[in-house]
Amino acid sequence: EKMTVRDALNSAIDEEMAADPKVFLMGEEVGEYQGAYKVSRGLLDKYGPERVRDTPITEAGFTGIGVGAAYYGLKPVVEFMTFNFSMQAIDQIINSAAKSNYMSGGQISVPIVFRGPNGAAAGVAAQHSHCYAAWYASCPGLKVLSPYSSEDARGMLKAAIRDPDPVIFLENEILYGESFPVSADVLDSNFCLPIGKAMIEREGKHVTITAFSKMVGYALKAAEILSKDGISAEIINLRSIRPLDRDTINASVRKTNRLVTVEEGFPQHGVGAEICAVVVEESFEYLDAPVERIAGADVPMPYAPNLERLAVPQVEDIVRAAKRACYRSVPMAAAA
C-alpha cells in the first residue's frame, strides 16, 4: 500500500487527537482553509474549532500561547505555515519552551510540537527557503526531528506528539505530495518511531552517506548510480537531528571508513559539520579519507531556476563526493 507524506502527517495528527483530548492543533489556516498545504484537511470538521484553532498571522503571540497551554498541561501541535516564520517566534521556542523545564528544576514540562515545512521549496527565493535544522538542534531542551518517508512522517510525528518535551518537527513541502509504500505495521494506530534513532535506508560497504528529509531520496538515487560503478554506499536517514544518533553514524563509518554528509541547509555550522565532528571525535582512526560535506550553497536562495539548481545539492554532487571519498585513502601524516 502507498501513502503520501501529507496523508501520513494528517493521519498521525488525527489519531493522536482521537487518542488524547489534550492534543490540539493551532496555526494559520489550519482550520477552515484545511491547511496552507492541506496537511490538516478534515480535522476541523472532525474535532471542531476549539481543537483545530485558526490563528491570526502573529507567530510570536500564538507560539507563546501554545507554550503557555503546554505549561498548563495541554499538548499543542503548533503549525508554522513554513519554518521561516518561526523566526518571529524563536524567542518563545528557545527561551520559553526549551529552557523552562531546566530553569524550574523540573516543575514545568513543555509537551509541545512545532511543525511545518522547513528549508528549500521550489522557486520561493531567499526569505522562504531557510533550513533551521542546525539552529534548533544546537539548543538543549529541544528535540529536533526531520522525516523523509511516509513511514517516518507517521511514526515520528506520533512519537513527537506523545513526547513530554518540546519537539521541532521539520517537514518538507516538496515531499508532501510524494507517495511511499507503507506496511500494515506502519498504519497501525500504535505505530511510533523512537526519537533519537537513525535509520539505515540502504546497507553498503564502501562509503557512508548521511542525509535527512528530501536529501535522503537524493542519497538513495546517488547510491543507485554509485552501485553501477561498483561503489556500495550505506545510506543513513538521520531522522533525528537532536538527539543525533552518534552510535549508528559511527558504527557505519567504522565499517565503510568513508563519510559523505548531505543537507540542503547552509554549510557553516550545519548538520554536516556536526556529523564530521562526531565522527572525528569517536572514529578518527577509522577514517580513510576526508569527510565530504555536501550542503546548500553558501548564498541566500536565488529565484532564477538555473541559479536555484546550483544552490541546492543535486544527485550528481553526492555521487561526485562519494567517488572523491572512495578514490582517496589516507596518506601518512605529511608533516608529523
Binding site: 502573529t58 510570536a60 527565493a125 522562504h128 529565484y303 538555473n306
Partner: protein, 351 residues
C-alpha cells in the same frame, strides 16, 4: 487642461483627525493616465496568471488585480523622492514607481533583465533609484523597515515621506505596534498604509482581528479610512497624509480594497468567500470601471478610445512578455554575486 473637481465615492472616516474634503481636484489628463496605468497593471497581472499556469513563473506569486487604485492614487499624490515599501504583492507598486514591464516579466521568469536580476522573483521587486524598497516576503516585517526609511529621511532633513504598505492580516502583527509607537515618539514622516482587502489568505478580517478598524490601530495615532477602489480618494488621502506626517509624525491610512484573484496562485480564492461577493465588487466598485465612467460622463474620451487604450496596453504587455522570454537566465557567476557589497574573502561554497 482644465482642472476639474470630482466627489469621492464615499466620505473619508477619520480617527483623531479632521477628514480631508471629498472634492478632489483632477484633470482629464490625470484621469486618462489613471485609466491607462490601471489597465496596464490589470493586464500585467492577468498575463502573470497565464505565465504561472504555463509554468514560466514559479513559487509564490501574489496578484494585485482589484487593488490598482491604491497604487496609482498614491503615486499621483507624491514624488519619486518619497519612498514606498510593501509586501510580496508588489508587481504593480513597482510599475507605479516607474518600473518597466520588461523588468517585471523578466523578474517573474527569473531572467537577468529582471528588476532584481532574476534573483528575487515575484515577491522581491525593487527599484532603489525611485525609492522603492521592495518587495518583502515576511508578513509585517516591512512596517518597521518603512518607519526606518522615514527615520533616514528625517535624519537627512529631506522633506520626504515613506509609505509603508501592509495587508489586513499583517495589521495584527506586534511589530506594527512597536514601530508605530517609536514613529510616534520620534515624529517620523511615515504613512502606514493598510491595504484592507478583507482577507489574509483564507481568513476574513473579523476572524483575525478583534477590532478590524485598521485606521484606528493603536488608538493614539491619527487615521483615515479611505475607499481604496477610488483612485481619486486615494490620491486625496495620500496628499493629505503626506502634509500631515511631515509636520506631525505618523498617520495610518486604511484603504478599503479587494483582491479579485486568490491569495496566491495555489489559492482558487473561492472557498472562503462567495462568487457573488467577488462579482458584486467587480460590478459596483471596480477601480478601472469607476475611472472609465468618469471619463465618459465628463466626455473626456469616447468608449472606443478607451477600448483602444486597452488594446494598446495589451500589446505592450504581450511585447514585454515576448522580450522577457528571449532574455537569458542570469549567468552562473551570479550565484555568488551580491551576497556582500564587500566580500572580504568569504569562500564561494557551492554544494
Amino acid at each position: 487642461q482644465a482642472v476639474m473637481t470630482v466627489e469621492t465615492s464615499v466620505p473619508f472616516t477619520g480617527h483623531r483627525i479632521d477628514t480631508p474634503s471629498r472634492s478632489v481636484e483632477t484633470t482629464p489628463k490625470e484621469l486618462l493616465s489613471f485609466f491607462r496605468e490601471m489597465s496596464l497593471m490589470r493586464r500585467m497581472e492577468i498575463a502573470a496568471d497565464s505565465l504561472y499556469k504555463a509554468k514560466l513563473i514559479r513559487g509564490f506569486c501574489h496578484l494585485y488585480d482589484g487593488q490598482e487604485a491604491v497604487a496609482v492614487g498614491m503615486e499621483a499624490a507624491i514624488t519619486k523622492k518619497d519612498a514606498i515599501i510593501t509586501a510580496y504583492r508588489d508587481h504593480c507598486i513597482f510599475l507605479g514607481r516607474g518600473g518597466k514591464l520588461i523588468e517585471a516579466f523578466s523578474e517573474l521568469m527569473g531572467r537577468r533583465a529582471g528588476c532584481s536580476k532574476g534573483k528575487g522573483g515575484s515577491m522581491h521587486f525593487y527599484r532603489r533609484e525611485a525609492e522603492f524598497y521592495g518587495g518583502h516576503g515576511i508578513v509585517g516585517a516591512q512596517i518597521p523597515l518603512g518607519c526606518g526609511i522615514a527615520l533616514g529621511q528625517k535624519y537627512s532633513k529631506e522633506e520626504t515621506v515613506t509609505f509603508t504598505m501592509y495587508g489586513d492580516g499583517a495589521a495584527n502583527q506586534g511589530q506594527l505596534f512597536e514601530a508605530l509607537n517609536m514613529s510616534a515618539l520620534w515624529d517620523l514622516p511615515v504613512i502606514l498604509v493598510c491595504e484592507n482587502n478583507h482577507y489574509g489568505m483564507g481568513t476574513a478580517e473579523w476572524r483575525a482581528a478583534k477590532s478590524p478598524a485598521y485606521y484606528k490601530r493603536g488608538d493614539y495615532v491619527p487615521g483615515l479610512k479611505v475607499d481604496g477602489m477610488d483612485a481619486l480618494a486615494v490620491k486625496q488621502a495620500c496628499k493629505f497624509a503626506k502634509e500631515h506626517v511631515l509636520k506631525n509624525g505618523p498617520m495610518i491610512l486604511e484603504m478599503d480594497t479587494y483582491r479579485y484573484h486568490g491569495h496566491s496562485m495555489s489559492d482558487p480564492g473561492s472557498s472562503y468567500r462567495t462568487r457573488d461577493e467577488i462579482s458584486g465588487i467587480r460590478q459596483e466598485r471596480d477601480p478601472i470601471e469607476r475611472i472609465r465612467k468618469l471619463i465618459l460622463s465628463h466626455e473626456i474620451s469616447t468608449a472606443n478610445e478607451l477600448k483602444d487604450i486597452e488594446k494598446e496596453v495589451r500589446k505592450e504587455v504581450d511585447a514585454a512578455i515576448a522580450q522577457a522570454k528571449e532574455c537569458p537566465m542570469p549567468d552562473s557567476s551570479e550565484l555568488f554575486a551580491n551576497i556582500y557589497v564587500k566580500g572580504l574573502g568569504v569562500k564561494d561554497q557551492a554544494p
